[in-house]
Amino acid sequence: MHASNAEIETLTCKAAVGVGLPAGLAEDAGVAAAWLSGAGFAGADIACRAIENIRKGRARPVIISGHTASLCPDTKGKLASVMYAAPSLFDFLQTTSRVTVARLDEPLLLFAHLVCSSSVRAMELVLHSVGSTGKVLQGVIQRGHGRLEGPPFSDQEAKNGSEVSVTMVGGSQDRNFKPTKKESETRRAAIQRGVEVTEAIWAELQRLAAHTLVPESATSKQRGAGAGMIDND
């Protein structure tokens, strides 16, 4: 089915709140999911997986492991939830040049978060991810643009998560990082026409988002909106 980028962002945010994620983290997740969709990835699917990981207890919030530049899940044997890790990782990058995350569940969503955040802070980063099968993936991020090298991160084996490091490579203004023609066309098509989402994923996100809604009651229906039920005037 067809969806707009704004819908991906909003629905992801609500679904994340629906499983208990704090509003500030959920907002960031929505923005990252929409960016991924607009870049031609299955943003809604990836976000939905990350939300389900939290709901099912597979992924957990992150804590500092050892020293300030290393994040890991707060529970042994669990994955590090990207929805918690990504915003914090970017926070730490503002005062530290390299941050790592152990057992991250969805590295591609982290990549998207870094791209979106880098546009605001004008930063240049390199993301390096090693999946549990040993597959190495790398992405370069610069001031709102991102480019992956190698196959998509979503191919990485997810059971044990990925070991991820993000390194700041300075604010080199001279490096000519511009989207390729294909990247630009993909982005343009997403803005012009929206993106495709499977109905199953859409339904699942809606189901999760429904946890933010308040059930109907007579009082709510009659008085909650301040208007009458019939307006024939």
Binding site: A6, I63, P87, F90, V120, V214, K221
Partner: protein
């Protein structure tokens, strides 16, 4: 609205009715294309029968008298066929990126049939009846920016004609007005026995489009602080420029006097049932009369240096807040050469991010500086958290509930900014200064949204609504009016503390009047003279 109409005038836009397949009851489809210098936009309208017991302005409505889509370009027959099955379903339909806005409207039962009968009988409708309502149809929702699959804001943000906030939505409403005026004449003609007369032009121009506005606008204000900052900053900048004018030229004084006369009539014609608003209108009428007295005597402030500043100061010292705002609107009308360019500063596409390099002490200091009003609220007092904002499972209708007597507070929207800021501040006061903001947010992610807001609003100084939005005294109506005022809405008509009606485009030029020299002169619309 004024920005849109000015542009249509400046760029010689044309509005063409390219399809009008309505039956004798006014049911069917119509298309109106608005053509600018580079692009066209088309309103695709569908009118359907509606039982009286189905007619409600609420979001929870399932059917409407008419439904609309603003199409990006000129729709082909297959597009219209596709939209015919989807637009009447509104939120239950799915739309494409080629659609930019989705809307619906209900007929005013007070006015539509009356105007129709009058025209069919060969007489013009009574102006007093038109004044009482002001519109033939009332929109009950106008959705844009990707809602239900329509095109994203990013699609149109780079187009000069739609770059301003809500320009696509307001173009839609302007075209809906065209449709309602044509529809009522069409039905009247079909029902007449040869005596039909078209609606006289000045009466036609006096009819705008109604709008029923509920709580949905309030969360928007809270979640878009940078945008709101820009709106208020533009308004304050405009006012500052006018107040700095050193001398009032005679033609400006004449114009002010003429606008005062018109504004007085506008106020006299502004009738509401709501007692609070009625009292406020009475006070404003009295205030405007005082302004007239001040500027009619030899010692008028208008003969002094910085005359408008002097007048503003007098109003600030002696008149109600509503009258002061009314005066500001008048003053801004006098100097389009100083203020109109500010309309290009109203948009905001950016998104703020957290500056994690800020120290905890700096964050605390920012709160103390900018959120003193929030820190002073006693949140231990039950009344200070009397309410909560929520989204109902019933068609996602935004609602306002009582925390202590209704279920659902555990799912409240994050709009209690004052409370959240205070909670953060209290925690900061007992947090070790050596902890970095990044470390703090890692262990307290529940504060993330409010930290981002505090930092952003340190720059966007008008971005925060400085009030407790969950307190027992909170009147959401004020928030609705605040936003609607920036659209240029008039005849604010509250129906409860949570709900209001307004009129849009009343007095605006009709499509064949857009070229006129006075196309921008329709603020404070007043009833035409009977003839």
């Amino acid at each position: 609205m004024r920005t849109l109409v000015r542009r249509m005038h400046r760029e010689s836009w044309t509005i063409e009715r390219t399809r009008f397949n309505l039956d004798r009851n006014g049911f069917g489809a119509a298309v109106y294309s608005a053509c600018g210098p580079e692009r066209s936009y088309s309103l695709v309208a569908f009118a359907n029968p509606l039982d009286n017991d189905q007619r409600t302005d609420r979001v929870i409505a399932e059917a409407w008298d008419a439904s609309f889509v603003l199409y990006d370009g000129v729709p082909a027959d297959e597009d219209i066929a596709r939209l015919a099955s989807r637009a009447p379903r509104q939120e239950a339909g799915r739309f494409e990126g080629s659609e930019l806005v989705l809307s619906r409207a209900n007929r005013s039962m007070r006015l539509f049939d009356y105007v129709c009968s009058s025209l069919a009988a060969g007489v013009q409708p009574d102006i007093a009846r038109l004044t009482e309502v002001g519109y033939l149809m009332r929109t009950t929702a106008v959705y844009g920016n990707g809602k239900f699959g329509v095109g994203d804001r990013a699609k149109i943000a780079g187009r000069p004609e739609l770059a301003g906030p809500f320009q696509a939505e307001l173009l839609t409403v302007y075209l809906i007005r065209c449709f309602t005026l044509d529809q009522v004449e069409h039905v009247a003609k079909a029902k007449s026995s040869g005596r039909f007369v078209p609606l006289e032009r000045s009466r036609k121009r006096f009819l705008g489009i109604g709008n029923a506005t509920g709580l949905g606008m309030a969360p928007f204000l809270v979640t878009h602080p940078e945008l709101i900052h820009r709106w208020v900053h533009a308004r304050e900048s405009a006012l500052a420029r006018v107040r700095q004018v050193m001398d009032a030229a005679p033609e400006k004084i004449d114009r002010f006097q003429a606008l005062l006369t018109r504004a007085r009539q506008h106020l006299d014609e502004w009738q509401v049932e709501d007692s609070r608003q009625h009292a406020s209108i009475l006070e404003t009428r009295s205030g405007v009369a005082r302004i007239r007295e001040w500027v009619s005597v030899a010692a008028s402030p208008l003969v002094e240096k910085r005359p408008w500043n002097r007048l503003y100061q007098m109003a600030e010292a002696c008149l109600s807040v509503e009258t002061q705002e009314f005066l500001v609107s008048l003053l801004l009308e006098l100097y389009p050469e100083l203020v109109d360019e500010l309309e290009s500063t109203l948009s905001s596409e950016g998104r703020s991010s957290i500056d994690a390099s800020q120290s905890m002490r700096e964050l605390q200091s920012t709160i103390e500086q900018n959120y003193r009003w929030a820190l002073e609220i006693d949140f231990d007092h039950p009344g200070s958290q009397q309410h909560f904002w929520y989204t109902s499972v019933n068609k996602l209708e935004p609602r306002f509930g009582n925390r202590y007597s209704e279920a659902g507070a555990d799912r409240e929207m994050p709009l209690a900014i004052a409370r959240d800021v205070q909670r953060l501040y209290r925690q900061l006061t007992v947090t070790d200064d050596a902890v970095s903001l990044a470390q703090y947010l890692l262990s307290h992610p529940q504060h993330r949204h409010v930290v981002r807001r505090i930092q952003a609003n340190a720059v966007h100084t008008y971005g925060e609504i400085q009030d407790n939005l969950v307190g027992e005294d909170c009147l959401p109506l004020h928030l609705l009016r605040y936003k609607l005022a920036f659209f240029g809405a008039s005849k604010f008509d509250p129906k409860s503390a949570l709900w209001t009606r307004i009129t849009l485009f009343q007095g605006a030029p009709l499509p064949d009047e857009l070229h006129r020299e006075d196309a921008d002169d329709w603020c404070f619309p007043v009833a035409p003279t009977a003839h």
